[in-house]
Amino acid sequence: MNHKPIRKTSGNRLTAMLQVRNEANRYLESVLHDLSEFVDEIVIIDDASTDGTFELCQSFAKVTRLIKLEKSEFNHEWQLRQRLWDLAISTDPDWLLAVDADEFYEDLAKLHMRDLINQDQYDWVGFRIYDFWGGLTHYREDELWVIHQRHTRLLVRYLPDFYYFYPRMDHHVPRLPLSYAVLPGFQAELRVKHYGWAVSKEERYEKYLRYMSSDPNGEWGSLEQYQSILDEYPTVIEWKEDPL
């Protein structure tokens, strides 16, 4: 019989999981460099990229599982999430970190990452995600852009016999199985920098068009928020690093 404790207080292995698509010329390389510093393995699903994303991922030693889809599943997001989850748990991880190709953990978070996972009292950790806007110095904060005011579950313990499921939605599916919500978690005052909006005005406009095209009736998200992507003068606040 397997006597491995279900929750370990030391020696936990951490696997990062990402789904990526055409990220070769954005932040992916930096993200993978960054992750390679503090995770044990990286698992990636390339959602039918047409640039050099797949090759870029291949070049990182810690990327131990990498699958490229022939056809994009972007419009069936829950299936994509499920596929990534199945691939990630095939590494027999103790903990999983769900990362986007344009997200960076602040230094303090990286410093505490092992403390967060080497314990047996909670099974997930929430972080505060900050949407950087128009550059890498400021994040956006107004009534529609407040994701940093709550915690987002990004780090979870993998419990092999737990029941995992994703809501069967085409868009805006949470990155990690919803069933974690019933397990005890820890809301860490640690921050994640999201650079997805730290792009030029033109690129933001392209993203706006993409959202409107995939969800024209605001079925999966808020039309008001989609519209606010085009705001000329959003409220932004300067980012300050926390001292280590």
Binding site: M1, N2, D161, F162, P167, A181, V182
Partner: protein
Amino acid sequence: MKYMIFCHNGWGDFSYKRMLKLLPDRDEVLVVGEVMEKDEQDYDVCSISLTNMLSLDLTEYTTIVCSPYWLKSVNSLHPRYMIALLERCPDDEDAEMWNKYSELLAAQADIVGTASERIYLEQCLRREGIFLLSGESPLTYGMVNHRHDTLFLNDYEMIWFEALSSMNKGERFEQWTSVQWEIRCKYYVDLVATYPFHATISYLAATYLYLLGRSSDAGMYLVNSFEQMVLHDYLDCLESHYRFLSSMAAQVGDLEKAIRIYAVSVYSEADQMKVIEMRDWLEHGKDDLVKAEIFRLNEDYASAIRTLKPLNTSESKSLLRDNYVQTYRYEDVLRLTEEGSLSHEKDSEISLVDSLLIRGTIHMLHNRPYEAVTAILTATTVELSALRWLSEMSSYEESAERMLRSIAYES
């Protein structure tokens, strides 16, 4: 067959009047307390005062007891059979005491009925001989002639009638429990097809399938219920829903999986020690102990007791006694304790106080106040907190007397 009804707050409060016409082998039906003349005729019952009731030889009667506060009086009359009809706690009663003594009533009764499906399911997981006295089926399942009336029975009435008939003949009636589970199961499984996203309906379908021993089918419904709970933000379902899967794994004999599933839901040191203990049992081939303990941890005491009863080790008897304590089968607790074959010194130390308190409760419920108080006071010499049992007993007595006074005043 002679029947005597003990209502909680008199005849007006009795919600099973139609059922009285369906009593099998019906001869005389007496109701303790006042009954309106019209009702006496309509339901073919006779009212009897408390004083007159006490002069009867109740060993000839089957008592129908609707309140835990009657337990002490009825016990001392030694009826032929005791039927308990369990009710939710009335608004003006102390819920903790009502529920505890309702459990004691159910434990002592020969057969138990209730119109509440919640109470019914809780009791099905605690003991045998439980019947639901409500249902939705519009179909007729049989008929009974009573005087000039022909009564068409629905499913639960037919089942109740058959179970009581078997009891009166001294025969087993458990088969009717399964018949009722089958009917309830089909009802909820059909309902899931109509309302696939309803957490409670799926949960109930899973529960009845589990009771029927069909865990391999039940899991799917339970998982669906769990998903719906989470999707609707009812997140307090780790123990109620997810852990139930460990009982299902135990039922199909996959004990390793059962332990692993259970382990996911535990965080405290004591619960983690329990996981280690179960793993150790499994490693030493004590599969039945693991199975019973998983059942108990999921509050399925009935399955735990069924699993442990045939075993004859000190460990199994110790677990069996714990299950008897949980289900208020106090006479069985004392019997096992007196057999003196229980393990663990520490356990025995605790059980000395427990045994005395249990003994005191039994004495009280059999109207032996001196012996009851002596047992409790002896318990306080080991553990002072046992004193609170005296106040609990006194509260029970007060509630019982209040009810008796109201019945006496009526009649």
